[in-house]
């Protein structure tokens, strides 16, 4: 149990260190951004067994939704939380093992891993697009209602 969810803690701490790489200062921003990263990985683990592309899609939707919420709460661009929060989802392992297969000349494995990595990257793109489109429409609707 603990062993399954320990990566979420590592995701939190890794995202927190990443905040310093990107020069984030205020502690509530740092905590919110790291929290986004941890939740992204938690969702990824919770929908285990749905296929890796779906897992990445659901995790990204969760992270992007959280980023939009934090952006409204703290009145700051959502991209700040998303840049940090999405990092644990970037398929670093996938890229590396694809490369390793290529160096070893294992073409079938290279194609398989490459496609898997591309699919998860696509899922991340789709997920974050969905959420920010919805967020944009909601904001515009609210702005128009306020004008009336």
């Amino acid at each position: 149990m603990l062993k399954t969810f320990l990566p979420c803690l590592w995701a939190f701490l890794a995202s927190m260190a990443f905040c310093f790489v990107f020069e984030l200062r205020r502690w509530r921003f740092i905590l919110a951004a790291s929290f986004t990263g941890a939740v992204a990985w938690l969702v990824y683990l919770l929908v285990d067994g749905w296929g890796s592309a779906t897992q990445f899609l659901m995790a990204t939707i969760a992270a992007a939704a959280l980023a939009e919420i934090f952006a409204r709460v703290f009145k700051t661009p959502a991209t700040i939380f998303l840049i940090i929060g999405i990092i644990p989802l970037v398929p670093g392992g996938g890229i590396y093992y694809t490369l390793d297969a290529l160096i070893n000349g294992d073409m079938p494995l290279f194609v398989q891993l490459g496609m898997e990595t591309a699919a998860s990257a696509g899922a991340i793109a789709v997920g974050s697009s969905l959420v920010s489109s919805v967020a944009r429409i909601v904001t515009l609707l609210r702005r128009e209602r306020r004008k009336k």
Binding site: I83, V90, G92
Partner: protein, 260 residues
Amino acid sequence: METEKLLNFCCDIGRDLMQNGAEIYRVEESIQHILDAYGCTETEVFAIPSCIIVNIQEGERNYTKSVRIKTAANNLRKLDRLNALCWDICREKPPVEENQRRLAEVMEENPYPQTVSYLAYGMTAFFFTLFWGGRLVDAAVAFPCGLIVKWTRSAMGRVRANVFFTNLLAGMLMALPPLLLHRWVGGVNADMCIIGTIMLLVPGIAITNVMRDVLAGDFLTAVTRMAEVLIVAMGIAVGVAMAITGVRMAAILLAVAGLV
């Protein structure tokens, strides 16, 4: 005179926003809002990652300025403050000189001291190695690899090397220590160290913003950023591959030398 000052200010704040990780639509909309707030009705704003063009028409007279953007600072703290500054300016509409002063104030803020920065790179590599399933030993090896990445980035930034070469060199240098340790000392899972450290090189801002820009209809920007992501990824891949093959060849050469 006032229009010229406003034009200059808009280009300045646009450039600062862009360099610190704002999406294209945010750059364009922020400038547009400021121009609207100051009562400029006939305006055009165009931005792509490397350039901003602002045009203000007053009667028959056109004021245009373009700025070329080359480097990225990627300071999210400044992005937050610049965004807040835009809102304040649109609400209060202070004189333009006052705006320039406030902008300078935001941009003057110093980045983290070098030690904090190095520590951040090291710790990111450390925790990401654990995250990807490495053991504590692997994470401890990844820490100095993170420092190498930071050092390479600063050094390459000083000589203005391009992103491809910077990432190639960073990927190669950071992959060498774990590979060498793995081959001649043992007890280290080199894959885990390298994967953990690769996360530092991933162009996070470009990846995140490329999707957000596509939605706003900025396809030209999306293509540019996509090219950037691919070039960086290629640089990392080639760098790491060079390290792996280099270590393998060294091992073979040593084995041959041993036989002789």
